[in-house]
């Protein structure tokens, strides 16, 4: 085993992460997508200005996520009694005994992980878009952000809301707080941000010998 310092990467090749097929690297035109010829996985999908769009989306998501997490989100009323909760408070529902684990998990899945992911992508992308050298530990940051991708569940929480609403609307009167609408917008932005990003392009911009 040699260390990576003595060996140089084969930057002329691209390998499909799904099926390991190797191809000679050829950059597609702007807006086009390059797919693996064997299994059809999208390998590169570059878009001009995608970086700036992602940063703009990420900034809006950051603001929305904090506001949607803290402000009242749903409230219920039945003959005189009422109760309202924020998104973060819903996670606190599991605060009895061993269910505390669920509180931590839920707060992470619907609030902290989505928030961390947008902050990381801002940190990684701002220097790249500004044509400056990558930020310190940018590779580590992007790697973490990618690893956390399946664990960011804001959009699933949104569907969960819909189900919960239908379930109790017969029982009690439900009204939406300001955070509810923020959360609705947030989910659309999170999904948009995730689909615009071209991972190969970001990694390429983070490498020492980048291909333009």
């Amino acid at each position: 085993m040699t260390s990576s310092h003595t060996s140089r990467p084969r930057a002329d090749l691209i390998v499909c992460p799904r099926c390991d097929a190797a191809f000679a690297l050829e950059l597609p035109d702007d807006g086009q997508r390059a797919k693996c010829q064997r299994c059809g996985t999208v390998l590169i999908s570059p878009r001009r200005k995608a970086g700036a769009q992602i940063i703009a989306l990420s900034l809006s998501i950051t603001v929305l996520i904090i506001a949607a997490g803290v402000f009242p989100f749903l409230s219920v009323h039945v003959v005189g009694a009422s109760n309202s909760v924020s998104v973060l408070e819903t996670a606190l529902a599991f605060s009895e005994g061993p269910l505390v684990f669920l509180t931590l998990a839920m707060a992470s899945l619907i609030f902290f992980i989505p928030l961390l992911r947008v902050l990381l992508s801002i940190y990684v992308l701002v220097p790249i878009v500004a044509d400056k050298p990558p930020a310190r530990h940018a590779r580590w940051a992007f790697r973490l952000s990618e690893a956390l991708r399946p664990w960011s569940m804001a959009e699933i929480f949104a569907i969960g809301c819909a189900v919960a609403l239908i379930k109790i609307s017969a029982l009690v009167e439900v009204s939406f707080g300001p955070a509810f609408w923020m959360f609705a917008v947030l989910v659309v932005l999170v999904v948009a941000q995730d689909s615009v990003i071209c991972r190969w392009s970001v990694w390429n911009a983070l490498s020492n010998d980048r291909k333009s």
């Binding site: 050829e26 109760n83 669920l102 790697r143 699933i156 379930k167």
Partner: protein
């Protein structure tokens, strides 16, 4: 649509492994086979993960074990002035059907019963298929893997519903909803099956396309 140029003209697609190369599974940088750590992102480089299937089965089993109590214990507990009612996952869905909210009952049944069970079956099938060549094509198995990876997270819906209901419906003596022990087991089951699916190395699906001589990682 631009297709990548093949390394070798038309006859056969070469894999990185056959070319004596290894691609980083996280950042896709391509290295010579003897490099052990990716110089770009620091991820460990493995051409095929020999422990992949063992980890898949281990997490699969934990997930399955958690899924059993998740269905036996109550998921929700509703306390009103006059009575306390406990609902399991399936029981709650049946009650919804009785109240004629068929759509919600379907969503719950789909997310908490159909998806988890088909996910267990799909992961088991994929893991077995790597060891024993099946009749299903590589493309179909690849598609199955992508569906499993994508849809597995959606099982968390039920946990979120329980959380929203039990934090929202806290109206002192009138009516209060509390989460039951099943919610913990169900969440663990979803989390472990997600880890199990992630541990599966999808490159194994395509390996036997090149014949047995290449050597499978799981001997």
């Amino acid at each position: 649509m631009v297709g990548m140029e093949r390394i070798e003209q038309r006859q056969k697609i070469l894999t990185a492994r056959q070319m004596g190369l290894v691609a980083c599974s996280r950042c896709q940088q391509v290295w010579e086979k003897d490099v052990s750590i990716c110089g770009r992102c620091g991820h460990k480089l493995v051409s095929r993960d020999p422990q992949s299937l063992q980890r898949v089965w281990a997490y699969w089993l934990i997930g399955l074990m958690c899924y059993i109590p998740a269905n036996i214990y109550p998921m929700l507990q509703t306390r009103t002035l006059f009575y306390t009612q406990q609902d399991t996952i399936v029981g709650g869905a049946i009650e919804l059907i009785e109240y004629e909210s068929y759509a919600v009952a379907l969503v719950i049944l789909f997310a908490s019963v159909v998806i988890p069970i088909s996910k267990f079956l799909a992961i088991a099938f994929l893991a077995i298929s790597v060891q024993r060549p099946p009749s299903v094509s590589h493309h179909q198995r690849q598609m199955l893997y992508e569906v499993v990876e994508y849809i597995g997270r959606w099982s968390m819906i039920d946990i979120f519903v329980v959380a929203i209901l039990s934090s929202l419906v806290q109206l002192k003596v009138l009516v209060s909803i509390y989460p039951g022990p099943a919610s913990l087991f169900f969440a663990l089951s979803v989390i472990f099956t997600m880890i199990s699916a992630q541990a599966f190395d999808s490159r194994l699906i395509w390996d036997e396309a090149h014949g047995k001589d290449e050597g499978k990682a799981n001997d």
